[in-house]
Amino acid sequence: MMSRRKFLLLTGAAAAGAFLTPQISAKTQFIESPEEVEAKRRWAMAVDVEKCTECMRELIAKTGNPEVKPPCVVACDKENNVPEFEDKRIDPQWMRIAKLELDKPEVNPKEFYIPLLCNHCENPPCVQVCLTKASFKRPDGIVEIDMHRCIGCRYCMIACPYGARSFNFRNPREGLKEVNPNVQMRTEGVVEKCTFCVHRIDEAVAKGEEPIPACVEACHKYGKGALVFGNIKDPNSEISKILRENIVVQLRANLGTDPHVFYTKLGGE
């Protein structure tokens, strides 16, 4: 018969073991303090809808495929190890293109194309609801997911107003032809999304260069240059100029999330 003391000790030890199981936690290391970073950098993207639409129209006409993946999406998939599954219901997609049409086609029947990606909101609902703080916002505005903390409850997917998040119903490796070793690999059962190519940003900042995410790079190389990425805390950056000189639209701005993907030239000015 087990003594009461022994029983309590064992229960205590079991509880402690459950709580304190060693788990690796990804912590973002900055050379500067969070306040310094916050004062200096806030990453954002601007989308020229006119150019994006032009690129997509040409591409669809050329390939005859209305669901063709443009260079930006292809580059994103490749760079970030975003798997390709045939079943659209479970296929993760960090960046995707959407067809946009006025609800009153008799007034304007034209179709436009815009890219959709994580908006890296100033007030991200996903971070707000995350149980474990696995989703977090860095001082430079990038919203990231700590894959070691994520329990896969998918509350963030429900909370995200922009459908930016995908759940790994299957192991992503099964849907990859090759793996980019520079980007963290995910497993089955966690949520993933666009990171603004955070690995590229950190590398560029450390070297004192201008960072450029894979989609933006591809857009300029093979597309029409519709995407511009940069630091809006720097008044001389290209993106700051664009935001100053255009009417910009944020998706679902009424929610107060303050998304940081800005759409310009909607309707082709």
């Binding site: 459950a18 709580f19 199981t21 788990q23 209305p66 669901e67 063709v68 999406v73 079943d87 659209k88 219901r89 479970i90 296929d91 993760p92 997609q93 995707r96 293109i97 959407a98 067809k99 946009l100 049409e101 006025l102 609800d103 609902p125 971070v127 707000q128 609801v129 995350c130 149980l131 474990t132 703080k133 696995a134 070691h148 903390r149 994520c150 329990i151 896969g152 409850c153 998918r154 509350y155 997917m157 429900i158 909370a159 995200c160 107003p161 922009y162 459908g163 995908s166 759940f167 119903f169 299957r170 497993t187 089955e188 059962g189 966690v190 639209v249 998706l251 679902r252 009424n254 929610l255």
Partner: protein, 396 residues
């Protein structure tokens, strides 16, 4: 004469057969989970509908837990002696259902071995994070409440009864808030959900408790006074009508907003979707018919009919959870108001169907079987049910 609680004999063939059947169904449920996670692709979920019926199990089980507890403990708080006969079984069931709810979370999440992260890390802005604390403490409160009842500590019992009611309301409002505070989806967002959860909890918890009592007393050949049940049945019917009222107000308010006309049309008037059926089946078989059964003098005094009403309602409250969780995901949101958006590479902008698969149903049914397994064993091991439950017990 005080109420005498007594263990059941539990040595008949039927008893052991019931235990075995429940154990097998429970095991099947967990096996379904293993299959679901090892093989993948066996559930009906998608990136557009990431929360399905296993997730719906969380608020459903918590509701059943909170409901049965609120009723019995309220009797303790206000010292309504005649309902004391049910106080132990209600507290015991409350503890069992909350375990089912926590297991439902464990089965639903994608990374089971990260489960303890939910307790280790706390995010004060996450309602779910608060609930992780509330659920575990609620289980402890239920257990202590049951313990002081076993020890017949009068004052402690009354105190714990009060605390348990307060905690049950907190826990269940919190659960309602997980869903209804989601402001990114119009069909989720409603301040009425938490109070509706409380009402729904009481009706479903009470409904199942009534059926539970009837069958337990019948199979153990103990005496159950229909007059005692009648009082509870009337509360049950009254609150079902309140639930109907809440649903009507909420639906009409959504329907009044022009921006939501299409969504409301889809939810309430499109019979090709499961969402439509979850709502109307709930209204007809989960509210209207049970209310009629209880209020009709021909059936309302018959324990068998009342049990039927209780089971019907409790079962269809699961449809209510479906109606709460699924439509907001199935119906697409407008990213840019005034514009129709259709994604080329995902299913955003489209109505995405969600049909729960047998694998998902088995997990829910397995958890229900587990609770009843715990109950059936409980009445044998602990003195949970009274020898006789009649009104005159009170007057002593």
């Amino acid at each position: 004469m005080a109420v005498e609680f007594k263990k059941i004999e539990g040595d008949s063939v039927q008893y052991f057969a019931l235990v075995i059947v429940l154990a097998v169904v429970t095991a099947l449920g967990f096996y379904a989970y293993v299959l679901d996670h090892q093989l993948g692709g066996l559930n009906g979920l998608s990136n557009r509908v990431p929360w399905g019926i296993v997730n719906a199990g969380i608020p459903y089980f918590i509701g059943l837990s909170a409901g049965s507890l609120i009723v019995s403990a309220l009797a303790g708080v206000f010292n309504i002696k005649k309902y004391k006969v049910f106080s132990r079984i209600a507290a015991y069931m409350a503890a069992a259902w909350i375990i089912a709810a926590i297991l439902s979370i464990a089965l639903d999440i994608g990374k089971f071995y990260h489960f303890m992260n939910a307790v280790r890390y706390f995010n004060p802005t996450s309602i779910f994070s608060w609930n992780a604390f509330l659920y575990s403490s609620y289980f402890v409160i239920c257990s202590v409440y049951l313990l002081v009842q076993f020890e017949e500590m009068e004052r402690a019992t009354r105190f714990m009864a009060g605390l348990a009611v307060f905690w049950a309301v907190l826990v269940h409002s919190g659960t309602g808030a997980i869903y209804s505070f989601v402001y990114s989806r119009e069909l989720y967002h409603s301040a009425l959900t938490p109070p509706m959860f409380i009402v729904c909890a009481i009706t479903s918890g009470l409904g199942l408790l009534l059926a539970n009592l009837y069958f337990t007393f019948r199979f153990t050949k103990r005496e159950l006074d229909p007059k005692l049940i009648r009082g509870l049945a009337l509360i049950f019917a009254g609150l079902m009508m309140v639930l109907g009222y809440f649903l009507a107000v909420e639906g009409l308010e959504k329907g009044y907003i022009p921006a939501l006309h299409e969504a409301v049309q889809f939810v309430f008037l499109t019979p090709t979707s499961g969402v439509f059926w979850s709502f109307w089946l709930l209204v007809i078989f989960g509210i209207a018919i049970p209310v009629i059964i209880v209020l009709n003098p021909k059936t309302g005094y018959d324990l068998r009919w009342i049990s039927l009403a209780g089971i019907m309602h409790a079962a269809l409250v699961f449809a209510e959870r479906f109606y709460l969780i699924v439509p907001g995901q199935v119906f697409p949101e407008e990213y840019l108001p005034g514009y129709k958006i259709e994604s080329l590479h995902t299913l955003e902008g489209y109505i995405v169907t969600y049909t729960p698969t047998i694998i998902e149903w088995l997990q829910i049914i397995g958890l229900i079987a587990m609770v009843y397994l715990v109950y059936v064993i409980g009445v044998k091991v602990f003195a949970l049910i009274p020898e006789r439950a009649v009104e005159e017990v009170v007057e002593e």
